[in-house]
Structures are given as C-alpha cells and as structure tokens.
Amino acid sequence: MESLILFIPFLLLLSSIVIGLSPISLNNFYSGIIGTLLVFVSLVLSIIILLDIYSAEEIIYYDDFYKWISVGDLNIGMGYLIDKFSAIMLVVVLSISSIVHLYSIGYMKEETDFKRFFSYIALFTFSMILLVISNNLVQLFIGWEGVGLVSYLLIGFFYKKQSAIKANLKAFLVNRIGDMFFILGIVMVYAAFDSFDYKTIFLNLNKIDLENLEIYFGLSYIDFSCLFLFIGAMAKSAQIPLHVWLPDSMEGPTPISALIHAATMVTAGIFMVGRLSPLYVLTEFTADFILLVGASTALFIGAIAIFENDIKKVIAYSTISQLGYMVAALGINAYTVSFFHLYTHAFFKALLFLCAGSIIMSLHHNQDIRKMGGLKSKLPITYVSFMIGTLCIIGFPLTSGFFSKDLLLEVMLYENSSISFVAYLMLLLAALVTTIYSLRLLFLVFYNKYRDKDFENIREQSKIITLPLIILSVLSIISGYLIKVFIDLPIFMFGVSDIHYNGIITFIEHGILSPATLALVLGFYIAKKIYKDKISFNFIENNLFNKISLIIKSKYKFDEFFILVSDFMKSISFKMSKNFDLGLIDGWVVNGFPKKINSLAVLFKRKSSGYLYHYAFSIVFSLVIIFGIILARVI
C-alpha cells in the first residue's frame, strides 16, 4: 500500500510535463483528457490509501522517497507522512482538483493556451500534494512555494492584460512577505530541535528544555517561531493585513479561482498550523494573536463583500472571511474543528466558483452582478447548484456548512477566556454578514429581472460544465455528515471534548437552537427585503450607517497602504541607486580617486616652464642640497 504513495505526486508531475512540453500536434481536448485521467487515477490511489489508513488502528505511513540533503548533522529528505489528517487532505485536494480538471476541459476549450493551463494545474496539484504529504518543514516549504508559483503563473495567465500581470506580481510579492517570516520560523524550529523532521521535532518536544531557549522582547522562543510560521500562513491564507492579493487574484481563469484561490492553496496555511499543532499548543501569545486575526478577518473582510459588485470578487471576499473562521478556530487550538470547516468549505466554495464560472460563460464574460438578474429560469442547473452552495455557506441546517460552522462557534463559546468570547461575538456577527452577502448575490443574480440586453440568448452550458456542478452539489450536502470522523481525528484538540458530542441527532438539535440560527434568520430577512423586494430601510439613510459603509467600501485602505509602502521603497531604492551607489561610491570614491591624481598631475605640469636653464638650475640646486645633507650627516 505504501508504495502507492509515490505514484500520486509522480503521476501529477508526469501529467504536467507531458502536457506542458507536448508537441503542438497533440489535440487540446485529448491533452485535457490525459490530464484529467491522471489526476483521477491519483484520486483513486489516495482514496485507497485513506481507506487503508482507516481500516487499521493508528497506521502512519512515514518514509523518505530520497535524501535531499545530508551534510554535517543535517538530514533532509523528500518523503511522506501519511496519517489520517494528511490522508483526508490528500483526498480533498485531489477530488477538487479532478473536478476542476474536468470542468476546465469545457471552460477553457476556446483558449489558445489550453495546454499551458492544464500543465499549470497539474503542476499545482503536484506542489500541493508535496506540501500535504511532507514529512519535514523544508519539503513543506518547497510545496508551499510551488503552489505560490503556480498561483502566480495562473493569475497572470492572460499575460496581455495589465490588471492580470499587476495582480500576479502583487500576489507573489505579498506571499513572499509571508514566506520571509515563514522561512525564519522554519529556521527557528530547526535551530531549537536540530532537525526539520516532524517526527524528530515532536518527539523531542518534551526533551528540549523550552525554558532555556532565548527570549526575545519578552516572548518565548516557541511563541516567536510559531508567530513567524503563522505570518507565512497569513499571507497564504489571506488574513488581515496580507489578504490584499486574494481579491485581485480573481484575474485568473475561473476554474483556478475555484481550485487554488478557494478550495486548496489558501487552506495551506490552515493545514500547516494543523500539522504543527504540537508546537502551537505550547504558545499562548501566538494563539491569541491567531484568534484575533482570524476573527477580525472573518468579520471585516466579509463585510466588504456586501458592497462588492464583481461576482468573483464577492466570492473571493467570502473565501477570506471563511478562512478567518478557520484561523480563529486554530487560535483556540481547535485544530480538528478548523480542519473540518476547511474540508466542507473546500466543496461548497469550489461549487460557488464553478457556478460563477458557468454564469460568466453564459453571459459572455460579464462579471458585474448589477447587470445580472432573473437567471433562475435560464440557468436551472446552475441556479440549483448555486443555491446549494449558498445554503452551505450561510450554514443552513443539515447542509455541510451548518455542521462545520456550528461546531466551530460552539467550540469558541466553550473556550473560557475573554478574548475567545469577543472572537465568538465577532464570528457570530460575521455569520450574519455572511448570510447577507451570500443571499444578496443569490437574489441579484437569479431573481427579479435581467438588467442587461440579450436575455434570450442565454443558455445553460454543456454537460462537461454542469456535471462537475452536480457532483460538487452532492458532495457539499453530504460532506457534513462525516463530522464524527473529524472529531475523532488524532491531532491535538482542546475544547471539543467539552461539547460532549452525543451523536449527530443531538448535535443537529443543539445547532438549530444556537444563536447562529438567529443570525441566519435575521440575515435572510434583511437580504430578502433589500435585495429581493427592494424595500429600503430607514437605517440605510442613517448617517452612522453611511459612515460605516463608506469605511467598508474603501476596503479599509489596505491596498492604498501597500501601494504607499511600495512606492516609498521604490523611491528609496531609486535614490540610493542614484545618490549613494552612482554618486557616492562610484562617482566620489572610485572615480574620484583617479580624478584627484589627475588634477595633481596637472598642478605639477604647470610648474615645468620648458626652459633648459630652469631645469639645469633645479638639477644643480637639488644636487647641492642633497650633498649638503649628506655632508652634514657625515660631519
């Protein structure tokens, strides 16, 4: 069974290389089929591995494929660590990836760069697998950067569009800010444990005297390393203030937004913290930091979605907000709960994006929701799927989002600390916000009247587009019922035990009676009144409300802030280049030195008159002086 693991990344790499370097004669359609088949085979393999792991007690597959580096006492391998946690993640990634592969055959069929696209997504899946199955931090980082790279390439897929190439540069650079801290975090962990290997690190956790490690600025060593690692995760999982790249990343083709910027890559940060949970349980400061970052991201960034008019960007902001939920759960060490939300979210968010893709295709690349409406009758399959996705994201009872979000809020409430209570309230409010913007999107797109021309020609896309929607709809609904599996996951978790999980029926009863349902109902009422029935409330005219909405519409000026910083750095570098490097070092010192010698030579040159008797005189005069000195010495 273990030998199958190698095939998963290998098949994906093969797919990427074969499609990427294939001769032009290979038909687009067939190369798409090849890619889809290979990723599907990987999916089957991963499911086999998952079942195998669950068939026996406490199986962990752990080995190296090969030695990457061994020098001195340092050993880094390229290998795998497959336990229940990574096996589930593997299946989630591969299933979303194979569905997106299938969908892309239809979605990208008119693109000239079809094969480049398929090569990229195979490479992306490969890097993501490398990350998920990693057994050491360096391999994790390699996969981490690999997915960042492919994200960069895919956002800039339409490389002629200025907005696309701006967005991809921004995405990469913001991620690099995180990576800088991430690599420092990795190195800190290495410096403490003398190994990058998870096994060694976790086994030595008790042996190493953490009290003796250095303390910087009043924070313990572990606090700092976890904080740095988490800053890396903040960039990848788009948390405030490093979230700025994700809305812009919607410049990429829509299947990519589903695969990379919603379901898999952005959850890498959550996965990483879950993977390193034995380290994270040791921190207090960092945990609180994570909690606050997550909760505020969930609320504040979610609020932006209410005022956004680009269908993909609305979903992108909702992704950031949902990621905030997961991060907040990490902050109270409820890793399994966070992972459960990651898992359900992957399906319904991919579903929402693929629906958006289907709508955009039907409307000939119109993404502005103000120009949509009434599509219910024209796009029935998309409508139903979108409806299911929306119900999931707002946590409608019995859908998958209900289970995961409710569990998350429960756990948050049971954690007894003031910070977590504040976070709980924020997340509850965020649930309200989520309901409003999700239903707004649903109402504006599918209800009322169409607000643009050419309504008659809109029709549902071909089966290759709708089939993935149907599959994902089913998955979105049923995935929540695996809640028991996640609660039993053998990674560190606290808080969950307090709930006394007594079977699924009790949980559902309990969930429906929780405050989250209130938020759901209230949100539904507001959204329906404003966006469906077009009734305006008094409070919309209110001054305070206007002010708040202006602040939200400005997206809290994060973009402006980053532009300011980058302009500042740019002007500094231009100034340094001009004044310091060319001016001082090169102009003044390096070229100044020969210039000084030259001017000295000119000075001496002026002193020579050209008259023979002057020369003769100076010769004799110098001789006399020299002899005089010698004579004086002798005497």
Binding site: F604, K605, R606, K607, S608, S609, G610, Y611, L612, Y613, A616, F617, V620
Partner: protein, 101 residues
C-alpha cells in the same frame, strides 16, 4: 708649491663658471654648448690631477676617451643647432620651450 688642492679648486672654479654660463646665458645656444664643453674640461682636469698624483696612467687614458666623445657630441650638437636654425630661423634659447607643460 702647487698642491693638488690648487688644481682641484681651479677645476671647481672652471665648473662653476660653466654652470654660471648655462644659467646666465639666455640668448645664444652656442654659448650653451661651449659651457657644457667647459664643464667636461673641468672634470677632465680632475681626472688628470688625480692620475698624476696617484701615479696611475688610466685616468689620463680616460681623458682621451672623454675628449673624443665630447668632440663627437659637440659635432652632433652643432648639427642639431644647424637644423634647428633651418626650421625655426633662430637659435635663441628663450624661444626653445617646447617642453612646457
């Protein structure tokens, strides 16, 4: 009795005269040449004096060599002056300052 000192003082005087000739004379290049010859002669005198007083003939042999070379030098010098005169129509020293920087 004329001692070696007298001879040496004489040759030194001769040398100084020639130097003065070089410094003071600013007009005629021929005089310059003659001063240089005089300088050589003063050195030759020293040779002869030392040779005489140390009973060594080789000093006087050297004088012959020097005289021969000096003659050749002045011949070349005169030739240069002649061609200089042809080019510039003057042999005034004041005008020869091509080395000026």
């Amino acid at each position: 009795m004329i001692t070696m000192t007298h001879y040496l003082v004489f040759s030194a005087l001769l040398f100084c005269i020639s130097i003065a000739g070089i410094f003071i004379n600013r007009k005629n290049i021929l005089l310059l040449l003659m001063s240089i010859e005089l300088m050589l002669l003063s050195v030759n005198t020293n040779f002869i004096v030392f040779s005489h007083f140390s009973n060594d003939i080789s000093g006087q042999v050297f004088v012959f060599f020097i005289l021969a070379v000096a003659a050749a030098e002045s011949a070349i010098g005169l030739a240069i002056i002649v061609s200089l005169y042809r080019i510039r129509n003057s042999i005034e020293i004041n005008l020869i300052n091509k080395l000026k920087g």
